[in-house]
Symmetry: C2
């Protein structure tokens, strides 16, 4: 049964482990909280939920809103908790490659002239500057570092990672620009 488990299924189990939710609410979580490091469309979430249900890792109750509309409020089962805990507590010891279309373009940019390459670098810098500002705005929500073993604390750690990454990318792009500038 372990071979049915994808990373997305673990992400769903993790969310349900915190709080019972409908598929729609899970979708919202992927669009907001998890968006920085994972995401999924509803067309992928609903089939995965069905699969998890078939394997008894989640279950659901029917809730009714209004007069007619039925919602499935999913919760994690004991078996699901066990699967989730096994996944989170161990790491596969491998370095995953990050596909990066920008680096691919930069790698082939020897056939561009100075202006074209510059414009490429500047546009990419703009994208990451904006992302950096966005993350820094989020950081303002924390007026101090939350206590460990709190969901706010892990939010904080992940946010720090995002900020550091964008800072690093901006630095790198600026260095590339300066290296391109100063040489014939």
């Amino acid at each position: 049964m372990n071979d049915i488990m994808s990373t997305l299924k673990y992400a769903i189990l993790g969310l349900l482990n915190r709080k019972s939710m409908t598929g729609y609410e899970l979708k919202k979580e992927f669009e907001t909280t998890l968006f920085e490091f994972w995401n999924a469309k509803h067309s992928q979430i609903y089939p995965e939920l069905k699969d998890l249900y078939d394997n008894k890792l989640v279950n659901f109750n029917i809730e009714v809103s209004g007069n007619v509309l039925q919602k499935k409020l999913y919760y994690i089962t004991e078996s699901g908790k066990k699967y989730f805990y096994d996944w989170i507590s161990k790491l596969d010891n491998k370095h995953v490659i990050q596909k990066d279309e920008f680096k691919l373009k930069l790698y082939f940019s020897d056939l561009l002239n100075k202006d074209e390459r510059n414009s490429l670098l500047l546009k990419e810098l703009e994208i990451h500057s904006k992302a950096l500002m966005h993350f820094k705005t989020n950081l303002l929500k924390f007026d101090n570092i939350p206590p460990s073993n709190d969901t706010d604390f892990v939010d904080y750690l992940v946010l720090l990672g995002g900020i550091k990454r964008e800072e690093m990318v901006c630095e790198w792009l600026k260095e590339c620009l300066s290296l391109c500038q100063n040489r014939k």
Copy 2:
């Protein structure tokens, strides 16, 4: 016809734009030079080459090694060069999300105890420390910064990016470890 183009096809065009190659040699390039930011298995490369050929973006000559073995030595066509140039000279103005299974685990690590979370962070740190050392070794091959408009120069830029990324990740992980250490 533009809708047949995947990023992988552009990567192949880019490589063939530099030098005529067989499918096997392309595979080697993905395993070595491009591995840091793109990759592809031979089972994906050969069908893509066929597709590019069908669309007249590449062509090939048969080469014979030994007595029998026939190799297809692919080269880029004028039409292929045009497609490639169009792709490389413009950027889609969007921030792509990077899926990151480690961050996902960290995000749910509030249910782990201190030791378990520490061990997770330490293992990840080890992976990225090794990657960093590996990149730094590669940097030694450059005894000075290559001239711009040289393929060595873009190699150098991309390598700098890899080093910066791994440095940043290591720093972040150390910060996480220290934040976990110093609080109850």
